[in-house]
Symmetry: C2
Subunit: 237 residues, 2 copies
């Protein structure tokens, strides 16, 4: 029985951009599993009433319902131990958790600052008020005031320094092959790539080469995902 | 037979501040081993001629000579597998390496910017020209131009965000007990603490509580280390 996952969609049902959902989808691909990723909009809270959570991803595996992207990674290792490891043992898992925080607290804000207006444009029209209201409250300013590709790219450039160091020693954060740490960080770049054509890193950056490798990993699940520029009439640069 | 290590010393032989040496000393303490930490000055390159390296730490264990702090951690796990693990298996080790880069590329520069004049004052007088010349070349400006506690503390505050996230979930980076990731990061705070009385984080910061736990770990090897303010006449605030 295939896994089922509620997955945020945008202006088109095929446009799936949530970085948290991408963590789960990349992890599922790493495990060699299939998933039916059902489209879900921010304002369709009633569709998630069967769980105690109001955000995606939500993973359903038979009788099991798992919420929170990091918990989904842990579940996949527990339920499918014979498939390639994501998090590893307790020590490796504890260190993997740092990459969740590195992604959320060092990388997401500079990326958002860069792509926020593209993101707004990619969101389903019925979700835009919800998105604007919740994000402006969190940011303490309007999206237009927050939007600054110049500042965002400069902050992102600094925040990527430790990653550059890591990639000077191995092809992936987790060594010779991608693992949970790679997916936790790379999901942010899938988010940006889905909704925007902005170049977040220069093509001479070791992070760029890593993104290219990650796009091709696991049968190109990243590379083959729909982007806003694939949807006729949806992209206004 | 006890381990021997060449360890950078400052204005007094008892003042040991190198963050790279602290990584090794904290790791040795974690393993429950004893070490004779021999004082070494930046300009005493001839004392390291028996190795192919001109920087400390250099660890000597019988016939083995190990240079580079991360390699010393790897060596300790290999040579003393029965003692508590530092790095763990390949996946855990790969992730631990990220903390080396996080320390060196995200934390050390803001800390240096904050404490550089204190550091200069703590360095052995015969080493000061060497230190100034090599660091000014690397920084592209004079130490006085680089020195800015206001900028340094602000940059450090941002750079610590992922660590704050991590410490919201566990007492140590590596979980319930400190491990290699903790030592790789904490060594920077031993560096600052040895040469300066500057408060790098506020006492309400979860990073502050973690520093306190780290100071007490392994019999208080961090807490008991000599600080510049312990040396009569050496500290000029």
């Amino acid at each position: 029985m295939a896994l089922v996952m509620y997955d945020l969609c945008g202006i088109d049902e095929s446009l799936r951009f949530s970085p948290f959902c991408w963590r789960a989808k990349l992890a599922i691909a790493h495990k060699g599993l299939e998933v039916e990723a059902r489209p879900w909009c921010f304002t369709e809270k009633e569709k998630l009433e069967f769980t105690d959570h109001d955000k995606v991803p939500v993973l359903i595996d038979g009788d099991e319902v798992i919420t929170d992207s990091f918990e989904i990674l842990r579940y996949l290792d527990r339920a499918y131990p014979e498939a390639p490891t994501l998090l590893g043992g307790p020590l490796a898992e504890s260190r993997a958790r740092f990459f969740k925080h590195y992604s959320e607290r060092a990388l997401q804000l500079p990326i958002l600052r860069t792509i926020v207006m593209d993101l707004m444009n990619a969101i389903h029209p019925k979700d835009r008020d919800y998105f604007r209201t919740t994000r402006e409250k969190r940011l303490g300013m309007t999206l237009e005031q927050f939007h600054s590709p110049a500042k965002g790219l400069s902050q992102l450039d600094s925040a990527l320094e430790p990653l550059r160091g890591q990639l000077s020693g191995s092809d992936f954060i987790d060594g010779d092959a991608p693992g949970a740490a790679d997916y936790l960080v790379f999901a942010n770049f899938m988010w940006a790539r889905s909704v925007s054509t902005a170049d977040l890193v220069s093509n001479a950056d070791p992070v760029y080469a890593w993104i290219e490798r990650m796009l091709d990993a696991n049968g190109g699940v990243g590379r083959n995902a729909v982007r806003i520029c694939d949807i006729e009439g949806a992209y206004r640069a």
